[in-house]
Symmetry: D2
Subunit: 329 residues, 4 copies
């Protein structure tokens, strides 16, 4: 957490990394609070790539109408490996100076925050981060924008599969997002009543799952749903299905939700969180504090040093997995 | 919070008061955790009325299949004014004794908890409450089961109205539930981008709303959505519409969501909360603690004396209303 | 149905009357087919009022991106009583001539078609109508754009109420749109399993409904849902509830869906119908035929004289009402 | 189409093959109409396998409450290769005789109808078929029960992906059901605004799709969605993605909807169709006609010889594919 002295007259907002539902609600909130505080506000289109290309648009009060309910991000987003090079960050700083931008609001995940943190460290550009990622894997905030929506989206899919599972006496594997973290999988699995949940942190052995399926079948249970976080590459559910087929001859049906989990209208929770954090980011800059992420802990808005948000690891609590395991007996 | 010494071998679960999405997930969790702890579990059908009529059914592991995603309550519910009479509570205690029920789990709101508290005070029947009401107006828990779903349901309605509002240059009033509390209205209003929110705690003057509508129109804003908590009787939105018509001649369109806010498949948040609290209620009884409500504070499960949950008033934070007011400018 | 000889080089599209989900899909289809046929295409903003004010915007291929799934209409709409005056229609014709517009596509209901028909009759402006109204009350087409979505929207509301009805032993009245026609009410009632359906064409006596409710209660049925088309003014459901309360003392809960039925993302059926009719309207103009509505009969696209669409009355088939009545026993 | 003379006093209903949303609405309708006609009605649990095992349950008026909105089938379903053997069909006929079942209603697809047709041919058991399959690949009916819901389910997925596609400049491939027929894919593709649709009937060359993607990119189009019917085995979308990656280096994201398309609450259209056909099936038996499928043509209920429904091929009209191709330019 750092203090700065520059007077803030003009700020720029951008979204970066994977998109998440609720990013637009955060943009709307930041823009309207900023304009209400007599700031000039611009948007950088397409994250760090857009910054390097000088793709910067004026944002207005009216331009924020009817976006609170939209998935995706009106500012577009993307990953930008070029930003790892110091020379490109220098270029970005020059563009920001040329555009007379006094402060930045970065909506994204830890990769995005790394670039933001360096812009402050290397060029003293005041910057505040807002955690926007469906994965919920950011240290320092109980929830990230987009997580609640993504979980509900995956849950709707499970509910539909449950209809057909109950009609058919079958085994289903639903692959959800979360390459490196099991937050989505464990919430979806608990809320969806899944029989087994595979998360990266705690690789449930396929053998244990098979034991459970067999024990359930012996008790008269005729259908099961397994939830699996995607592995290092999407499609892992097919591998699980193949292993199950080989070991006990069951024909598991596979459903890979993929990027549909990123879309959809944001849930109430995500819109409220985004509205609060969008406002808090502007307030933070106005209070001349930066190099922080605004987040939520115990329902209160907090400020966390960006370095902590980037470097500390948010650990998956085992409570959900354990509870899901007992409840699906 | 009280301790008791009776050994728990058989428990009964019931839902009481207005139904809320997620009640079934709480029932499922309590039943499965109880059976997993070698307890005998029965359900009382229809709340306190059912108890007085001895309507008690055995609950089983398998009977809990495929209910986690269902709205309503498989145990039925209702209000029971007869339970205010001591003689009827005596009758209930006799029935519970006859059925050899050692502990009760009551899922409902503060009215339901009052009956529960009296059963403990008057007859030493160990009882634990689970907050299940869409209104979120229970002291001691950040959230009640059903609130998140109800807010999302009302929000979907607002989103649909927003489509037509944007096409038509019109004023809409959406009436949501919350006779005595503005939790639903303020969350829905903030998440839905409403221009004005009418809550019981803080009766926004209609004149202030009209000023805002006129100022918005002057700035080129062509459509507005107002959110109003129902008043002492449903249909209040028509009164607001009539006042607006009389004062500025605008023809406001009215939508009264009513009980549809109680229905629908519970959200992920409500299912997870219900699963956690359902389990915690059983654990509490097994630890020989009672006359408490299990709730959630800062994402942790807590135990709150029933008397506090009943008597203390949960105050609506103005943050949402104020933020909504600025963001809808 | 009339033929004309003018060469079509530039067309204008507008939406008029109440908005309906799928109007955007029709606009997208007409615009893209027209541009693909090397026509110049403009949009009139806000229906006949916009035409009188000369509010005309260029429409482009790219401008149609990402609108197929949006409710409402990007061209805005409204009612325009001024257009009933011949002098205003003259003014409109002048504006169209000045803008060198050779043909019009009007998306709306019978009121909108009347204006369109007069523009042809009085000023020989070639015009084709597309039936876009949630009410489905246009003669000559099996379905209008928006009807399927509106029915599904109302049905979702019924399903949610069903959750709470089944938990509570209660009577519900759901008021749907359809001031003068019972198409929505009868489809929603049949699909929703309603116990009684009140439509304008066939005013079910409240006494008959009460008999049915009492008979159901006698058979052990504990909850009922009635569907009522709005009457001459919205809020009629409260009158029905009051009558039932007076006659048999039941406390019916009311839900008034109102304009939320106009919103929401259009259903697959409505998008496909809109895409087909949007294309057919352009083709019709290119084939130098006009003063017709394009509609759908037995899944085939047809052309119907506008005068017939306006003047003939589409009669509600009793099949749905009768089937619903038996099935809800 | 055949006539029979046996008096119908008791009928049995079963669902067979893949489940489809709306099957429960059809069951409800058949049961209630039958009981209203003073017939005795039983359900066979689990299709032909259940029949061979004598799994037959009494069905009642009340048992049909609250199922109209449920996906799946309360009678369970499945495929039954044993029924291809004459000896097993003989066994089934004996069981039906023993249970004094005078007529059968079979809800399913062409595989299911084949068994039904043989029961009539070989043992003169009167039988009527109801087309219930999400694939819509049954000759003689414009629509099958479940198709409309499945298309809308897949469409919701596309809409969510569209959010993220528009934020990210990316290529997506959505795999939908339809191993042998492109009805789902072509409707979903047209309604979803897909850039290319791959159907089994008309294997779009991957090269043509690539040309289109490149041409779109040249025009400034930054994201595309392709819809592909599953191939001979699910997961084909990964092959397409791999080919695209190899040929033009684009990284296409894959989403495989799988069995979630079978689930969900049936749409209004499917519930109404199911209610009409369920009633019509009973009426057909009461009129002593059998060996037919009841279906819908031009919105009217029709009776089609089962042999035609089984043997004739419903051809995919190219209209949707062609229209989608122009509209996605």
């Amino acid at each position: 957490m750092s203090k700065f002295s520059r007077e803030i007259k003009k700020i720029a907002i951008y979204t970066s990394g994977g998109d998440a539902p609720g990013m637009n609600a955060a943009i709307r909130s930041s823009v309207r609070i900023a304009i209400n505080s007599h700031l000039d506000v611009v948007g950088i289109i397409g994250g760090y790539s857009g910054l390097l290309n000088g793709e910067i648009d004026q944002l207005s009060q009216r331009g924020m109408a009817n976006i609170i309910q939209r998935g995706g991000t009106i500012l577009k987003t993307g990953r930008c490996p070029e930003f790892h090079k110091a020379e490109n960050r220098k270029k970005a700083a020059d563009i920001l100076a040329r555009e007379k931008i006094d402060g930045l609001i970065c909506i994204g995940g830890d990769g995005s925050f790394t670039g933001a943190h360096l812009l402050w460290e290397e060029f003293q550009i005041p910057i505040v981060g807002i955690p926007g990622t469906i994965d919920n894997d950011i240290w320092g905030t109980d929830f990230t924008i987009g997580f609640d929506t993504a979980v509900n989206t995956a849950l709707e899919a499970i509910d539909k599969i449950r209809d057909t599972a109950a009609s058919h006496d079958r085994l289903f594997i639903v692959e959800v997002m979360g390459r490196n973290s099991g937050f989505i999988a464990s919430s979806v699995g608990l809320a969806g009543g899944a029989e087994e949940i595979f998360v990266p942190e705690n690789p449930a052995s396929i053998d244990k799952a098979i034991e459970k399926i067999k024990a359930g079948a012996a008790r008269g249970k005729t259908s099961s749903i397994l939830v699996a976080a995607e592995g290092q590459k999407p499609g892992r559910a097919y591998d699980l299905a193949e292993q199950i087929r080989k070991k006990i001859g069951y024909d598991a049906k596979v459903c890979i939700l993929g990027h549909l989990q990123r879309g959809g209208s944001p849930s109430a929770y995500d819109r409220i969180l985004a509205s609060r954090l969008g406002a808090a980011a502007v307030t933070t800059l106005l209070e001349k504090e930066c190099d922080v992420m605004v987040g939520v802990q115990a329902s209160k808005v907090v400020r966390i040093p960006l370095a902590d948000a980037i470097n500390k690891e948010k650990v998956l609590d085992n409570e959900y997995l354990q509870l899901a395991s007992i409840l699906s007996l």
